[in-house]
Symmetry: C2
Subunit: 366 residues, 2 copies
């Protein structure tokens, strides 16, 4: 059932010589939505126009798509192998959180040895920051090894991944307002690989946060899974101590029981569990707008690295910053990424519903 | 000569019932560019399409506009009082730097007492971070006092300004490439007030940088002054020690001799000098793209608070975080902003060429 009628994620596709437009994945085919539903909102190079319509329109479209997909009608279905997949959304702002207690503690131990690993604010609010929206790219885009000050100037020697979930905003808010219910604003979920140059990041990030160590590329999967498809995966988030202030209290369970799978050159190296993430995405949304900051259609916010005990979502944790290299089946060892390496992150629910995958190959520096 | 034919900044305007479109300010009038030049690129609600055309097109348009403006031909000139001014650009990514040695040292002393005020990286690279592009607003937009954790939850009690210059990118770069010469990419300059809630910022900013303490609003002036208008204001930046690495060495003088003027409720409170800024904007551009991050048309990068000795661009410095309240002519004192306060920032060259102003009024929290 990975991509059966229970799933039906949205993406943007084209065939050679055709304009990119919105489709839905049905098994190993793409349903061309504009002709299939007779709705011109889908004849668009991004999901944004459709996402802006809101929850009632999303539910109505999904019900119609399920009927078409279940009907066996072959019209408007195109084999995946015949299409190119594009960045599915026009990204407005990109925010990255830091919601895994395990990840934040691990990074604190490595970046600030001898100090308390968690900063005093961490359990009181979902720490986050703005990333570069213009360098969000679709899965398959090659990743050029970045240069930077490490502090000596050269190509990064600590190129890493961050396996994350991303949440895509459909319904905006006005400046000075706050977001309402999570499911009234957020359209769906995607996979994110927030590529990171750890040596550049470590030198630059004090006091204003990560910048060039992250801004060279952030990859997302070509499929946005609508929240409706994830109903069965919803779980309570973990208990929180201290209890957060009122605006951060959970009104409904928006933890998600998804297991990520990180593959390096085709070999599984970690399987980070999303369900244990300390801060849930509804809390991230409430936090992001509590100061009156507006949301736009196409805003993308990501969870931060998904790490569970012994199952981290980054190489710096997996190899403990180089102290424990991992050995691949070929006998090769890895601390950080080498040129030519291919990283693929996928995720699925216990029931087998798939979020697809986000993949990228490291190119040598120029 | 504030807005004479030597200046001619670009903006976006409309009259009631009309679509917003590009104009140029000529003294106290707006020249309606699409009909005046017979060029449909200006019949657009932002400057982006024109800015994407590049330096040759910018120079050609400016030469034609100068001839029209100098001709005395009254056609297509509309009194400023008859128009509404809009956000002149569609902001792609927004980056804020921290380029004033004085400001960075002052903030370091206040936020990290007992430590070395400048972090070890500060003299080696222009420290910067991404801000929220979706909350960049045009001058005149009221600013609602934000709520947040300070760390107790409530309306900010330390609402501040940051007087800055902003630089607007016209010509993009490809992912994996680097920017060329500053003047081949940057279209022009605008005034920025990066409103800041210091209590929220101080609690949240470790370790990933400012987030909600800044993201509620950033105001820009309605006019973008093209680089060509600022030729006479160009100066060498200050000497730098240590000498920066190669990609940060200055190829041409892009320091700018501009004096900012900060007014609170109509009274001048500071006059920060831009010419002393340690990192010049060409260095900021080179840094932002050295890792291969792409530029998009509409990217906005700002200098960070402009502070010179005794002439800071923020209230936290002016009042030394409350230790030295300022007294207004009315006898009222201020540490941070109160509801109803109006802040206006302007800037001019020694020759009197004006960048206009960016203004905002504080609204009470709701």
């Amino acid at each position: 059932m990975s991509f059966g009628v229970e799933n039906l994620p949205y993406g943007v596709f084209s065939r050679p010589g055709e304009a990119p437009r919105v489709g839905v994945r049905v098994e190993d085919q793409v349903l061309d939505l504009a002709p299939a539903l007779g709705d011109p909102v889908f004849a668009s190079p991004s999901l944004n126009a459709f996402m802006a319509l809101g929850r009632t329109a999303w539910a109505r479209a999904r019900a119609r798509i399920r009927r078409v997909a279940a009907s066996g009608d072959p019209r408007h279905l195109i084999p995946l192998g015949d299409v190119t997949l594009h960045l599915p959304i026009e990204v407005a702002d990109y925010v990255d959180f830091y919601a895994s207690l395990e990840h934040a503690s691990n990074l604190g131990r490595m970046f600030r040895p001898g100090e308390e690993p968690l900063k005093p604010n961490w359990r009181h609010l979902p720490v986050g920051y703005h990333g570069r929206a213009g360098t969000v790219v679709v899965s398959g885009t090659p990743i050029r090894r970045p240069w930077g000050q490490r502090p000596s100037f050269g190509p990064t020697e600590k190129l890493d991944i961050e396996a994350e979930l991303g949440f895509v905003v459909g319904v905006p808010t006005a400046l000075g307002g706050r977001a309402g219910a999570f499911e009234d604003h957020v359209f769906g979920v995607t996979l994110v690989n927030d590529w990171s140059a750890r040596d550049i990041q470590a030198w630059e990030y004090v006091p204003l946060g990560p910048f060039l160590g992250k801004s060279f590329a952030t990859s997302v999967s070509p499929w946005i899974t609508p929240l409706e498809a994830l109903e069965d995966a919803r779980v309570e988030g973990p208990a929180q101590d201290p209890e957060p202030v009122a605006y951060l209290r959970r009104a409904a369970p928006w933890g998600l029981d998804l297991t990520l799978r990180v593959e390096l050159n085709g070999e599984p190296v970690s399987a980070p569990p999303y369900r244990d993430m300390y801060w849930t995405p509804d809390q991230m949304l409430a936090h992001m707008t509590v100061n009156g900051a507006s949301l736009r259609t196409g805003d993308l916010f990501a969870s931060g690295t998904v790490s569970g005990a012994g199952r981290p979502g980054s190489l710096i944790e997996l190899t403990w910053n180089g102290a424990q290299p991992i050995e691949l089946g070929s006998g090769e060892k890895r601390i950080f990424l080498e040129d030519g390496d291919v990283v693929t992150i996928s995720a699925a629910t216990p029931g087998g519903l798939s979020l697809g995958e986000v993949s990228g190959t490291i190119l040598p520096t120029t």
